[in-house]
């Protein structure tokens, strides 16, 4: 048999190295192309929302700039007149919007912290926000779980939906923590 890297022994070395040291075979056996943040099954073109070669996800809607008539750009005229951003002033609706559109941003965590303060809880497995329905008693309650009717925030219909649910306390996120150096 061929005894250098150009034969089957060379291929065997790659296969064995894939288990012990994947870094050695990244060019041949390859990277996981589905883990690069691109939806390769998308029926739409990817380039209009391509976040760039280092981005782990496509552009968010607010990242895509668009040419508008200069008359629409009133920032210079009103920027000193706008109130400062204060999340405690905003309704739940706007906080959810911030949470769901500010992926990977301090604003996402800030919105989550504000929602937590308003008794919404994030279910880490279901990846939804839940809160208790006021005045609704539990069907069952133990130290580790409870069962009852809760409001879920439905992202698709953009409203609160009441549902009966078995709520495991360990699946709820604790209070979101903003890094002290991060400011909104």
């Amino acid at each position: 048999m061929v005894s250098d890297q150009f034969g089957v022994v060379g291929l065997l070395a790659f296969i064995r190295a894939a288990e012990s040291d994947p870094n050695l075979v990244s060019l041949a056996l390859g990277q996981d192309l589905t883990a690069l943040g691109l939806n390769l099954n998308s029926p739409e073109n990817l380039y209009p929302s391509f976040g760039g070669p280092w981005a782990d996800h496509p552009c968010r809607p607010q990242d895509v700039d668009f040419h508008v008539p200069p008359e629409y750009l009133i920032n210079h005229a009103i920027r000193d007149k706008l109130a400062a951003m204060k999340l405690s002033r905003y309704k739940d609706d706007l906080l959810f919007f911030m949470f769901y559109t500010s992926v990977g941003d301090v604003l996402q965590i800030a919105a989550a912290a504000e929602l937590y303060g308003r008794e919404w809880r994030y279910h880490m497995e279901e990846k939804v926000w839940i809160t208790q329905v006021p005045g609704m008693a539990h069907i069952e309650k133990t130290q580790t779980y409870e069962r009852g009717t809760y409001y879920f925030f439905d992202v698709q219909s953009w409203r609160k939906v009441a549902k009966e649910f078995h709520l495991d306390y360990s699946k709820l996120e604790g209070r979101p923590v903003l890094n002290s150096t991060s400011t909104v």
């Binding site: 943040g37 996800h57 706008l82 992926v103 965590i109 890094n179 400011t183």
Partner: protein
């Protein structure tokens, strides 16, 4: 082994690696909601 020319290129590339472009470098200035990227929990939505 890398030729001398490529070794020099690598040194320059490595220095640039520690000053990677920031996403905001190629965007219009955001007056109200500047980008403030951070690591968010893996169980939050990622896209």
């Amino acid at each position: 082994p890398l030729q001398k020319e490529h070794q020099q290129q690598f040194q320059l590339m490595e220095a640039a690696y520690y000053h990677m472009p920031h996403p905001s470098d190629t965007e219009r200035i955001r007056t109200y909601l500047p980008r403030n990227p951070c690591n968010t929990p893996s169980y939050y939505i990622q896209a």
